[in-house]
């Protein structure tokens, strides 16, 4: 250009030159303006460049952070994966457990079923046992009755014999044509008295032999003891056994079945009777005392006593010290059972050299209960 401008100056005059200078000045000015704008732009660019650099630095930081986060995430992902796998295992296990649980549940249902059957069976057995126990009491009673009958047969023979004689006398009087009517009537009345005596003995035996179901009725202890003694007294009397009875001043009302309680004392008296059989002094003492809760009845004999160590065994079924055929071994176990059923206790004390003393405690009936009259 400059070369162009020089050429133009040569061809043109001063006016041209001025114009050229002016043009050149304008151009220069424009170029200067452009340069200044360029400088501005350069400055701006510089600024931008600086900003960019700092942004780049920040970016690098962010990237580093990002990288860190990414790594952390990767780790977490791995951990999660592990957890997932573990969970899967657990789920599998739990499924197996579920299966096992189900099997157990089924087994359990079976067992429950069995248990129910067993319970029913146990209940049935219990009932059976109760029935058997009642049968045992009855069997024991019949055994007692058997023993009593031998004694009672003799007792019955006496009134029977007397009846025969009195009636025979009346027959003789009539046959001989006795005019004394009153004598005949007197013989017949005496015969009737003996019939009543025999009837009493038999009716008592019959009452005693009846099956007596377990019950807890209020019962007069005094009546029970008197009934038991009346069945036994002839046997005791004939064996020269001295019986002392102290019923105490009161008439305690206890709970139980009168026939079963009667059997308790018949059994104890039978034992006492047999215990003193070979003793030189034959005594049986019966005493009743009453406290606030129970009536205590002691039956003491003058026999040889119970050998040490047997005090507990004597209440076992079929345990007997008597000769074979002399006792069933059931008496005391039945006695124990009856007393136990009514909430009472029986024990025995037998100090060496003294006889045996049985102590029976029977709970008193509540005071408002009334005794049921005995038929």
């Amino acid at each position: 250009m400059t070369a162009l401008a020089g050429a133009e100056m040569v061809e043109a005059g001063p006016s041209h030159l001025r114009a050229l200078v002016e043009t050149l000045e304008r151009r220069l000015h424009a170029r200067d303006e452009q340069r200044r704008a360029m400088l501005h732009i350069m400055g701006d660019l510089n600024e931008s460049n600086k900003r960019l650099a700092s942004q780049r630095k920040a970016m690098i930081h962010i990237l580093a952070d990002y990288e860190q986060d990414r790594r952390r995430l990767a780790q977490q992902a791995e951990r999660l994966d592990n957890s997932r796998r573990a969970l899967l295992h657990i789920l599998q296990d739990s499924h197996k457990d579920n299966l096992r649980l189900e099997a157990s549940r089924k087994a359990m249902i079976h067992i429950m079923g069995d248990l129910q059957e067993t319970t029913i069976e146990v209940k049935r057995r219990e009932q059976e046992l109760r029935d058997k126990q009642e049968q045992l009491v009855q069997a024991g009673k019949l055994a007692t009755l058997g023993e009593l009958t031998t004694g009672v047969a003799h007792e019955l023979n006496n009134p029977l014999n007397n009846i025969g004689l009195f009636v025979g006398n009346a027959v003789d009087m009539v046959a001989l044509g006795a005019i004394d009517k009153e004598r005949i009537v007197r013989e017949m009345e005496r015969a009737m008295q003996q019939v009543r005596k025999a009837t009493e003995i038999i009716s008592h035996l019959r009452t005693f032999g009846r099956a007596a179901p377990y019950s807890r009725d209020p019962v007069s202890l005094r009546v029970v003891l008197i009934q038991a003694l009346s069945l036994m007294q002839e046997q005791l009397r004939l064996r020269n056994i001295q019986v002392t009875v102290d019923l105490g001043g009161e008439d305690p009302v206890v709970l139980g079945n009168p026939l079963q309680l009667e059997q308790v004392f018949i059994n104890l008296l039978t034992n006492a009777r047999d215990a003193v059989a070979d003793s030189s002094r034959k005594t049986v003492r019966i005493a009743v005392t009453v406290d606030s809760e129970a009536a205590e009845i002691t039956v003491a004999d003058s026999g040889p006593g119970i050998p040490p160590g047997l005090e507990r065994r004597i209440f076992d079924p079929f345990f007997t010290t008597k000769e074979v055929g002399q006792g069933t071994g059931l008496g005391l176990s039945i006695t124990y059972g009856i007393i136990n059923d009514v909430g009472g206790t029986i024990s025995v004390v037998s100090p060496p050299g003294e006889g045996a003393t049985f102590v029976v405690r029977l709970p008193l009936a509540p005071p408002d209960t009334k005794e049921i009259p005995r038929q």
Binding site: N157, L160, N161, L165, N169, M173, L176, E187
Partner: protein, 164 residues
């Protein structure tokens, strides 16, 4: 025979009323006494002789067998009959060995009882008669012997009869 006397021993008061009445009706003129225990019976026996004793075997205190023993030692001649219950066979054998004359089972058959009692008394009376006669004979024999001895002594004492 003069009036017979019999002692009945039993602890049953009714029997002590019934049996003596039966005996009075069946055995005219018999005297019946009663005792309600063996001890009472022994007191009676000590007081007088009976022609027979009838005792129950089962009694409290001293029983019929012990009473029988006592009678055997105190008055061995008196026939004793034992009343036994039905089926007391062992006791019957015991009693018969112990010297009882007979036994009567309860319930008592009156015909049997009267017959047994009469027989026992008759035997007793007969035995007593035999014994009495035996004793009489013995005393006669003694007497006879004494007479013979006396005669012999008399004969020896006669001077004319002595050998010269």
């Amino acid at each position: 025979m003069t009036s017979l006397s019999v002692l009945i021993v039993d602890d049953d008061q009714a029997l002590l009323e019934a049996l003596p009445e039966a005996m009075r009706l069946r055995m005219g003129g018999v005297t019946v006494e009663t005792a309600d225990s063996a001890a009472a019976a022994l007191d009676r026996i000590a007081e007088r002789d009976y022609d027979a004793i009838v005792t129950d075997i089962r009694m409290p205190g001293m029983d019929g067998l012990k009473l029988l023993d006592e009678i055997r030692t105190r008055k061995p001649d008196i026939p004793t009959l034992i009343i036994t219950g039905h089926g007391d066979n062992d006791l019957v054998v015991h009693a018969l060995r112990g010297g009882a004359r007979d036994f009567i089972q309860k319930p008592i058959d009156r015909d049997y009882f009267v017959a047994a009692l009469y027989r026992a008394i008759r035997e007793h009376v007969a035995a007593r008669q035999i014994k009495e006669r035996h004793e009489a004979m013995e005393s006669w024999a003694d007497e006879l012997e004494r007479v013979v001895e006396k005669l012999e002594r008399d004969l020896q004492a006669q001077p004319g009869r002595s050998e010269s």
